[in-house]
């Protein structure tokens, strides 16, 4: 519809901003469709599903040269009236299938149209996404059988799906054949078909069928982590997340970390099968859980999107991950996987489709792809660093021009696994730490206790929880505070000379430790603890630095911490320790389960699937193990915050200590001398 037909009214759709001229009398829904504005509709313009609600914006929109008024839309007709009598239409809303254009209009397409009463427990994200789901519900009224034109019932259904909805060459899922006649008769020839279409050029699939108007369809977006499986249940018609939940990955019983699970597969003939079964069962149980929470039948789930690290991805799909445990870390499949729920034993609708995001590389999985899709380094001009810290850190760095990715073997220290007093984040765990640089006395906060340790009432409150250890986020904080207060040197050595100054510095043979709490349990940070953190953060930073070198940048513009780890640590302390490069602190943000958000986006909009597939194809993959320079970057990154890299922005925000170097066990200044002797 060209704007040149100046007699026709001008219609502007918000928030998309798409506009066009349409003849008087055009239904608003038709105008939206022809401009490619996504407006849901199940009933196909019969004013019975209520999905196609819009709102007229009144006023003079000078910028757009539109005077928009409710007078410029047709009054509520009998069909719309009937719908409003049965269901409720919010004040100001109209059904766009019935409302016709009479004059210039600014039309708002609301993002929150919900026609079924659903309890929204939790917003997975504040963002709203353009929608274009792979599943579409289409109500049709099928001709009754006619001996003179003996087309099959299904064939007449397909005729209507083509006539009313434009679906050509539909492929019908085999499992529907036995039911189609009963459903058509039960619906008195009115049925709702679920059509799946993902890639352009592939034939649409008829995957589910209900008698009458079926006005809701659901999807799940799931992130399969090594430790935790997280799931969103989403209404595909409203775009709303209606329940979110998590569960432990039961594969933990086969091995805590990924590599021990690969070993389990290699050692046990049925190991792969057992782990595949375990993870699928956990997903099915989690599906039951989110469905119960939302009052939804798992059978109404028609689409499922998964992200996972490469080993979880393979085990979930039934693939032996052995090759991922050894160089060259060959993925069985790196591209996006399209399959059917029943092929992988998911207890959702028998015709439901499954989409797995692509993996980036052998150690950079579909979860990193999901996080990339969510945070979008490739969608912006600034240089964005995206870090997902786990046993392997997955690192993505890039902008609109170019994106690079790598993984770095940080080990389990950040998760508290190799820390003497490390523990899970649970009541009794220390979660925040401050150390007075003058007295070296600490104060801290314990999970389950409101007060800081130096506040009134702390001791009483802490009696209930106990003070049992240090959780992952506090490990970062305490080591950083030890550095800021001078307890450890820039090369990470606990300064033994401070024993004279403070009873907090304890001697343990040839090394020293810091006494964080002296109670029922002594909680100390040992030299080995500091070393473990240094090794982990050096691996992470060296990986980041390698990518920065590949990109030819000295600094990054913005940093995103994905995953649970990032949600709990203070960016300042992460930077003080030199986990991440120097950056404006306000530009370091924790984004939670970005991988899961990416899965959600791919569930709500198949354009995002194409976007991430294309992005992953273009991402330059760096294998840190193959980069000779990596060793040097690693050694430099052992220092706090870094031996060679300046942190001017951090220094402006935080008072960094004077650079002090101490020998570690093997003699004073050894670190420095060893480096020099090699030069």
């Amino acid at each position: 519809m060209s704007e040149g037909q100046s007699k026709d009214p001008l219609i502007l759709f918000m928030p998309s901003g798409k506009r066009g001229r349409f003849p008087v009398g055009t239904p608003v829904l038709e105008a939206a469709r022809s401009l490619g504005v996504y407006v849901e509709s199940v009933c196909g313009g019969r004013a019975t599903c209520g999905r196609c609600q819009i709102e007229v914006q009144e006023g003079n929109f000078a910028k757009h040269k539109i005077v928009s008024s409710t007078d410029h839309i047709s009054p509520v007709g009998p069909k719309e009236k009937r719908y409003a009598e049965v269901r409720t239409i919010p004040e100001g809303r109209r059904l766009s299938c019935s409302a016709q254009i009479l004059g210039d209009l600014v039309i708002d397409v609301p993002q929150d149209t919900v026609v079924n009463a659903q309890v929204i427990r939790k917003a997975a994200t504040d963002r709203t996404f353009d929608r274009n789901p792979a599943i579409q519900l289409c109500y049709v009224e099928v001709d009754e059988p006619d001996m003179h034109k003996p087309l099959g019932d299904l064939d007449r259904l397909n005729v209507m799906l083509e006539k009313d909805w434009g679906w050509h060459n539909i492929l019908v899922a085999q499992h529907l054949l036995p039911d189609v006649q009963k459903i058509l008769r039960k619906g008195n020839w009115g049925v709702t078909a679920a059509i799946h279409r993902d890639l352009e050029g592939s034939r649409p699939n008829l995957i589910a069928l209900w008698p009458g108007l079926h006005n809701e369809a659901y999807g799940i977006a799931c992130d399969i982590g090594s430790t935790t499986i997280a799931m969103h249940l989403v209404s595909l018609l409203s775009g709303r997340v209606i329940a979110s939940s998590g569960a432990s990955n039961p594969q933990i019983r086969f091995g805590e970390d990924l590599m021990s699970r690969v070993s389990y597969v290699m050692m046990n003939p049925d190991g792969r099968e057992a782990m595949t079964k375990a993870v699928r069962q956990a997903i099915n149980e989690l599906t039951v859980k989110v469905c119960a929470e939302a009052g939804v039948d798992p059978n109404s789930i028609l689409d499922a999107v998964f992200v996972a690290n490469p080993i979880m991805h393979h085990l979930f799909l039934g693939i032996d991950p052995t090759e991922l445990g050894q160089a060259p870390f060959a993925l069985a499949v790196s591209g996006a996987v399209h399959t059917w729920s029943r092929e992988i034993d998911l207890a959702i609708n028998h015709g439901a489709r499954v989409y797995c995001l692509p993996c980036i590389a052998g150690h950079v999985g579909a979860d990193a792809a999901g996080a990339t899709l969510s945070e979008g380094p490739h969608r912006q001009d600034r240089m964005m660093l995206l870090v997902d810290v786990g046993t392997n850190a997955e690192i993505v760095l890039g902008n609109r021009q170019h994106t690079v990715a790598a993984s770095s073997p940080t080990g389990p220290a950040f998760e508290g696994a190799e820390i003497s007093c490390g523990q899970r984040a649970a009541p009794g765990a220390i979660e925040r730490v401050r150390i007075d640089a003058q007295t070296l006395e600490p104060r801290f906060k314990v999970i389950g206790v409101d007060q800081w340790s130096d506040e009134e009432g702390f001791a009483e409150a802490a009696e209930k929880t106990g003070i049992t250890g240090i959780c992952g986020s506090a490990i970062i904080e305490v080591v950083a505070e030890m550095y800021l207060s001078g307890v450890i040197s820039a090369d990470g050595v606990v300064d033994g000379s401070l024993t004279a100054k403070s009873p907090r510095i304890l001697e343990n043979g040839r090394t020293f430790s810091y006494l964080l709490h002296d109670g029922a349990q002594k909680i100390t940070v040992t030299q080995n603890d500091v070393r473990a953190i240094q090794l982990a953060k050096a691996a992470l930073y060296a990986g980041i630095k390698l990518l920065m070198e590949k990109q030819g940048v000295k600094t990054v513009d913005t940093i995103r911490f994905a995953g649970a780890f990032g949600s709990f640590i203070d960016p300042k302390y992460a930077m003080v320790l030199g986990l991440i490069p120097d950056c404006d602190l306000s530009e370091v943000k924790a984004v939670g389960n970005a991988a899961g958000t990416g899965a959600l986006m791919a569930l709500l909009n198949r354009d995002y699937r194409r976007e991430i597939e294309e992005t992953v194809r273009r991402i330059e993959k760096i294998e840190t193990a193959l980069e000779p320079h990596f060793q040097q970057l690693f050694i430099d990154a052992m220092a706090l915050p870094n031996k060679v890299d300046p942190f001017p922005k951090l220094a402006a925000a935080v008072t960094l200590p004077e650079r002090k170097l101490l020998a570690d066990g093997e003699g004073e200044g050894g670190g420095r001398r060893r480096r020099r002797s090699r030069e």
Copy 2:
């Protein structure tokens, strides 16, 4: 390649007749491909599969202006030599992937290239069909994994399938994901992929994968009859039928005829499931049987094509056939069905595809579509009548312009079911009958006995078999001979006045019968037997006549009898009885299991699938029950051969008796008077 580039050699491919000019040095295979000439190749030009054999025709082909000579093709090179050393190439054959064009050539593409020694037990048909199977085997050599380019193993396989074979956007069957890495490594990165592509515009599917060169693929073509299931096992690479076999349909235990099976489903809650299971199991057992006969692993069957009558079609696909048992006889699905072997529990390759031909109407099934495809009324100018006689006769009449189809309820009389001395075709059954018109004495032939009953040695030989009844084909013959000899009148009444003339005419109360054999068992043809045949043939003829009226023709040009019934009856006697309209007797042909041949064609060439789908869409379907005129045609057809239709061509070949009418039981000439009294 335009013929205008007159310097380039001119190549003519036979038998297709396709021609074009190609530069000197072009491999013959490449020239064939670019002209759309089907030449098989699995190895992709590596001269290892031996599938692409061609033969140079020597001589001056004046009509084509080509002087073709073996000097115009490159000499045998090292690769081709190596192949010939390992396998055998027949004298005069060349591998077209290696042989290059040096000058003008006439190239013969042989239809019998078989590289594996296969015992061909039985030719399903003498015809050879242009091949374009839905399955293609493609050997590729895949790049080894590379940490710098971490594409998955499967993704690199797909890259090669696109590069070497032009397959875009391959969809990989889920069940292959777990195996792909092992297969690639076992084949040392050389693998053979089976690609399924059927409809244009749908994505190719990777359905099977083998390490190294896998040089054979099989398919089955199967006709699921109510009584018998017939199957061909075919090499998809050579196009040869390598085994054919049949089995009883085990559903017989649920009901002899189709309608009793529908009743069984309606009466028994698990009836549909039990029958589906039974027929699938029978197909699986038959598959094992044909595979054992040919020494083929059922797992190497990659494609399967089925035809069946509508009720068998539905039960096979797991669809409740109840709707087919009552007006309006609604098919659940009439169009072609595409599915996967595992979706319908076939014990062939897990990734094998299944194709069912479309059904024409509620009583005219995919078997009739198969027969139509085989005999091709729609491919010729003459008016062809195609009849498949069973409990329901399926009738197709047409030519290139227009085709009409109907079914007619002939009942089971033709199969001997309602005949007093009827029996299955087995040793001891009378299969041929002649009656002397002067003496009314019969002579006959018995299955299992070489001599006719009036020949020397018959009595001795018949002692072994006994003389036990009349089989289906002989029913037609004996009733026709009774008519020709004057035993019965034109209205089908056994002439009681003949008791005076011959002891063969027996009185049974108010009617008479004919004594065919007086031995241990008396074998007679009763008045009721004649009536049953009259009713059956009248139904068939009335259906045919209805279609002739729809076509506006008084005669048909050629007649095809499909099915077992047609193979055993003598066309002359069928016409004497008036089963079929008058026609030159040399134009009445039995074509055996044409439905199965149609399935075979659809298996070997997916173009035939499109052809029959399009043909079925265009066929005009006639529901005899809705045609008011049908009753009159039926009544006219009760007479022998017909009350109103002349049979001039038959009369020229056979001496027909004087027209004689007799009352049947209720008084002399009653039949005629009754008709008149209504006029």
